[in-house]
Symmetry: D2
Subunit: 273 residues, 4 copies
C-alpha cells in the first residue's frame, strides 16, 4: 500500500518510502544531560528524528508545562550532535516562525487536531507537519483536518495514529491499527504510529509498536527516557532508553518481513540546511 | 444541587440561580433578516441570550465558515434590538479584545476545550466564558480545562454539556446527562445543556432539552432557524423557529416541577453596558 | 409521543399509558426481612412492581450468585402481601415455565440481549418481557432483539434503557436518554429507564431518574435496599429504601409537568390471577 | 510472551506454542461444494482448522440463520477430507453433546460471552472452548468469563479478540491489538485474533491479520468464501478464497520475524480420535 503514498521529504529523510522512520525521545525535554543521552541512543538505534516536548499541553494546569524555548534549544543541539532531525509539538500560531530554527517537523497534538487557525497557519508556513489524530475523532475528521493544512498549499503532511478513546481502560487509549491502512488509502499521505500514548504503560509498547509496523506504518513515534521513574511527564509509558535498540531491532525484522526496512545504526551528523 | 453552585453574572443575567437561562439562535449568522427574526422569537419565548456563530470551525475546509466580523455586528444589533445578550464562539486569542463589543458570553467550542493558550487568554481577559465539553473528553478533563480559565483569575466560567462520542449513531452524539450533576457537584460551576448537537436531528431535541432541565441544567443552548432546510450549517438539528416558544414552555414546566423557573416572555431591551 | 405506543398490560397494570410504572426493589433478594421491607416501601411510594434478582449473572464467578428458587418464592410472597407485581431476570429457557408462578414480568438482562434462543423461548412463552438494552448494543440491534420475541407472536414486550458503555468512567454506564424517545418512535413499544445501573452510584440516581421521566420513559426500574452498605450486590448504586418515596415524588412532579402521572400510595393487594 | 501461556491441545494441534494456528472458512456453511472448496484451500494454505457456522446468531430474525445440523455434518466431512479440525459456534447448552461428533473446538460467540449457563455447561463438558470477546466488554470481563469455564475444571480455553465497539465507523469494530498481549499476560491463555469481524470489509483484513500476528496472536480466525458477493452472510468481510494462501504467507513471514511459525501446506488427513 505504501507505494501509492506521497513521500514527504524532510531534509534528507523521506517519510512514506521503503524505510520506516524511527522518531524517539522523551515526552518532555527536562535537561541537557537527559536529551543528549536520548539523542545518542536514538541515533545508535537507527532513529532519524529526536522527539521531545518543550511546550506541553497538560490536562491539568498544575502539571509540568515544559522548559519552553530553552527546551527547544537543547533539543536542537542534541539532535545536531547526533545527526538527527527534530520533531516537537507547536501549540500556537505565534510559535511557528521562531520554531523554524529548532523544529524540523512540527507536530500538531491530538488535542489540537481541530484547531483550525493553527492548521491553517502551519499550512501557510510550509513547515512539514505531523498531524496527530484527535483521540475522539473519526478517520474522516482527521482527513478533513489534514485538508486544512494541504488546502493552504502545504503538501508536507504526515499523519500520526496514537489511539482513540474507548471504554477499555487497560490501556490509556485503543490503538486503531486499521486507521493506518485506511488513512493511507484514502488520503495518500504517510502515517506514523505512536504506540506510547496508546499503551499508557511501557509493558504494552512493544506489541503496539510491532502491530503498527505490521499494519503499514511509515514511521514510529516512541517515548523513551533514561530513567522513566523520574520523568516529569508520562513516565509510565516511556520505554527505558537502554531497551530502545532491542525494540527497534524487532520492528526492523517485522518491517523486513513485509519488504520494508528500518535504518540500522547511526549515520554522520547532518549539517544544518 | 443548584444552591451550591457559584452564580455567574453576565450584565443583569444570573446563571446558576433559580432561573434557567435560555440561549437560542442559529448555528451560523447568515443574514440580517435571519438573525433579527431569531432574536425576536427568542426574546418572546423568554430567552435571555441570542446565540449565533460568526467564525465557524467546520470539520471540512470546504464547508461554510461564517460571516466573520460582519456576522458579529449583526448579532449585536439583533440582540440589542430585543433586549438579549449575545453568546458566540471565539476561535483564537487575537479575537478576544475586538470581540468584547459584540460578544457578552465567549463560547469555547468542543474542539477547542483543550486549546490551552486560548483557555488562558480568556482567563486573563475576564470575559464570561461558556466552556463546551470536548466530545471525546472525560468530565475530569473538562474540569481541568475550566481550571485553566479560573487559574488566571477569571471566575466567570459556565460549563456546557453537549454530548459525547459513543458507538451509537442514531444521534449525532450521546448527551451525558449525569455529567451535568457531576460537574456541578465537583466544581461548583453552573452547567448549561446543548441538546442540539447531541441530537443531530431536531426530532430528538425536545426530549434532550427536557432531560437536560430534569438533570439540573442551569441553562439551555438551542439551535433554531426560521427555515432549517435552507440553513448553511447544521440545519437538520435546528428547531424550527416558530416551534421554539412551545419547546421553551415545556422546559419551563419541567423546571417549575423541580422548583426552578424559566423566564416568560420578552423584557425591555437592555442598554449597552 | 406516548400515545403512539402499544400499551402492554400485565395483570391490571398498563405500561405505556399515561401512568408511569415504578418498579423498585433490591438488586438481589437476600432475605425474607429484606424483601418484605422493600415491598412495603415500594408499595407505599406508589410502585406497582417489586424487582429483585434470584439468579444473578455476575461478571465474576466468585461473586454472590443469588438465592435461586428460594429467592423467587420470597419475591412472590412479599409482592403479594403488598399488592405488587414481580419483575425478575430469567437466565435460561428451562427457567421459563417454573418461573410463571413467581415472576409476572420476565426481564432479559443486558448481557443476554442477543441470546437468541432465550429471546425466542420467551417469545413462545407469551410471558410479558422486559428487554434490557445490551450495554454495547445500538438501538437498531435492540429493536432487532425485540423482533426475535415479537416474531414468535408475543407482543408483550417492554424495552429498558439502562446505559451504554462509553469512555466516561464517572458513572458506571452512560444513560442514553435519546434512546428512549427513538425506541418508542421506531418500534412503538413502551420503554422503561433503569437509572441505577447507569449511575453506578446512588448520588446520581436521582438526576438520571428525572431525566428518564423527562425524555418520555413509561416506567422506572430502580434498585433500592434497606441498608445498601450491607448489600450482597450493587450496594453502591442502591437508593436507600427510606429515601425512595421522596425520589418517586420528584419523578411524579416531572411526569405531571408533562401531562403524565405516577401512582400515589399503595393500593389493595391483588389476588393471584 | 507466548512462553508463559498454557498450551491448549486439540487432538494433534497445539495452540499457544511456537506455531500459529490458522483457522479459516466461511461465515456460514452454505453448501457441500462451498465448504469442501474452502477446506481444500484452507488446508493447502497451511490452515489447521476449518471454521464455519451452522447455527447463526444474526442481529435480525429475518436474516439467514444457518443450515443447522446439516451444516455441521458437511463441516465434519469437509474437514476430515482435508485433514482439518473444525471450529464452530455453539449457541445453547442442549447443542453441546450432539456437537461433539462435528465440532472439535466450540466457539462461544461475542454476543454470548456473558451467557453464564452456556459458559458453565461448556466448562463441565470439557470441550475445547474458543471464547470470543464481547464487543462491548472489557478485558477484565472477558477474563472473568473465561473463569466461568475454567472454574468448572475445563482448562482448554482459548480467547479470541475480534474487535470492540467504538465511535469509529470506517471499520465494523476496532481491533484491540493490545488486548492480545494483555490477556495472555494476565490469564496465561492463548489468544487468537479474528481480523474479519473487526474489519467488516475485506480491504482491511490483511493489515489486521498482520497486526494480530505482530502483537502475539497464537492463531488467526479468518472468514473466507469462494464467491463473497454471493455469500449468505458477512460477504463483504470475507477474504476471496483464492487469495487466502497469499495472506497466510504474509502472516507466516511476520510470525517468522518474531521467532514463530505458521504451518506451510497441507498435511495428511487426520484419523478421527
Amino acid at each position: 500500500m505504501s507505494n501509492s503514498v506521497r513521500v514527504v521529504n524532510i531534509r534528507d529523510c523521506a517519510i512514506g518510502g521503503a524505510e520506516l522512520m524511527v522518531m524517539a525521545g522523551p515526552c518532555s525535554i527536562e535537561s541537557r544531560e537527559q536529551i543528549f543521552h536520548c539523542a545518542e541512543v536514538v541515533a545508535a538505534s537507527g532513529g532519524r528524528f529526536l522527539r521531545g516536548g518543550a511546550f506541553k499541553v497538560r490536562t491539568s494546569p498544575t502539571a509540568f508545562q515544559g522548559l519552553g524555548w530553552d527546551g527547544w534549544k537543547l533539543l536542537r543541539e542534541a539532535a545536531d550532535a547526533h545527526g538527527l532531525l527534530t520533531v516537537s509539538e507547536i501549540l500556537g500560531e505565534e510559535q511557528i516562525e521562531p520554531a523554524r530554527r529548532y523544529v524540523d517537523f512540527a507536530q500538531i497534538g491530538s488535542r489540537n487536531m481541530q484547531n483550525v487557525p493553527l492548521l491553517r497557519a502551519l499550512g501557510r508556513s510550509r513547515m512539514p507537519v505531523l498531524l496527530k489524530r484527535g483521540f475522539g475523532c473519526t478517520i474522516d475528521e482527521w482527513l478533513h483536518a489534514a485538508e486544512y493544512v494541504t488546502g493552504e498549499g502545504n503538501e508536507h503532511v504526515v499523519l500520526c495514529e496514537r489511539g482513540i478513546r474507548t471504554f477499555e481502560t487497560a490501556t490509556r487509549f485503543t490503538l486503531d491499527v486499521a486507521a493506518v491502512a485506511i488513512a493511507k488509502a484514502r488520503l495518500g499521505l504517510p502515517v506514523v504510529v505512536d504506540p506510547s500514548h496508546a499503551a499508557g504503560q511501557r509493558e504494552w509498547v512493544e506489541c503496539l509498536t510491532l502491530s503498527g509496523v505490521a499494519c503499514g506504518a511509515d514511521g514510529l513515534l516512541i517515548e523513551t527516557h533514561p530513567d522513566p521513574a523520574r520523568a516529569l511527564s508520562d513516565g509510565p509509558q516511556a520505554v527505558v532508553l537502554k531497551e530502545l535498540p532491542a525494540l527497534v531491532e524487532k520492528a526492523r525484522r517485522v518491517a523486513q518481513a513485509l519488504g520494508r526496512t528500518v535504518a540500522a545504526g547511526a549515520r554522520q551528523p547532518v549539517a544544518a540546511a
